[in-house]
């Protein structure tokens, strides 16, 4: 025991830190590559519901999001159910057709991801779906979380 103590006291222990910037840079590049910066600010509240039999979407660039949920009003209040596409709330449901048609021209393999609040009513959703049908955007995805 005494021997051990002597040895420890004698030698200075230092971790070489010269490689640290390299390690940090590597991590940095990893996160830079994987980051998807949040593009939209949500103007509606979307609490996703849960489901068991779901599939992953690997190709994120095919996705276009449609948000449906109660509108966020100033002062933490919630209003009527509204539809949000990109950055703006779409008041006129009929306008969705042209919006989606344009997106479909840019990305023919478009998948429309519907992110709907769990308490929103089905009626508004079906109106949106009718518009999607008319715009020929047939591939949709009901966004849900995995059931724990």
């Amino acid at each position: 025991m005494a021997h051990f103590k002597k040895k420890r006291g004698g030698s200075k222990q230092e971790v070489p830190t010269s490689a640290m910037p390299d390690v940090v840079f590597m991590l940095l590049f990893f996160f830079m590559v994987t980051t998807v910066l949040r593009e939209v600010t949500l103007k509606v509240r979307v609490n996703l519901t849960q489901a068991e039999n779901i599939e992953k979407i690997e190709q994120k660039r095919l996705l276009s999001y449609v948000y449906i949920g109660p509108e966020r009003l100033p002062g933490n209040q919630l209003g009527e159910d509204k539809v949000q596409i990109d950055d703006a709330i779409v008041e006129d449901i009929g306008a969705i057709r042209n919006l989606m048609y344009d997106k479909l021209r840019e990305q023919p393999k478009l998948i429309v991801s519907l992110r709907v609040d769990e308490n929103s009513e089905f009626g508004l959703l079906t109106d949106v779906q009718e518009e999607l049908k008319k715009a020929s955007a047939f591939r949709i995805n009901y966004s849900t979380r995995r059931e724990p």
Binding site: V24, E121, F122, G123, E130, K133, F138, I140, Y142
Partner: protein
Amino acid sequence: MLLKKRERDSAEINGSSMADIAFLLLIFFLVTTTINVDTGIGLVLPPPLQEDQEPPPIKERNLMNILVNAEGRVLMDDQPYQLTEVKERLKEFIDNPNNDPNLSESPDMAIVSVKTQRQTPYRIYVDMLDEVMGAYKELRDAASRANYGVPFGALQDNSPQYEQITDMYPKKISIAEPGDN
């Protein structure tokens, strides 16, 4: 003179703060990153019917009508069921192992129609759809295990085996226009 001076103090950039800068950037990206894989229930909508076009004829026995009301009560072909029973009932309908004349002729002809009300909360609708997807997933899994010894999820996308299983059990799900009652 000049040359000598240059040689003496070699110009070097102080690199000790590099790590700090890198750390700062790293932390920024760590905070802003959202590594969330998008998951959800995939569906393909049918093209809209033309005005003068009649809906295609479907044999009554091949069609399973599921009605869900806003309270989450389920009617399958006019019989009330619990939501938890839907999956088993659907599997029986699609597969029809005993060749019941009231159930679908063959799995690839079975059509599941889901109808609900406008007032139904989205949660209930997705729960219902989840059960339908679950029934198809279990049937496909069983078929895949029987034929290839691996679960359906392990098959390569668009491989011949994958195509065969999806041809055996095509997901024919129709979302009907919501009714008022």
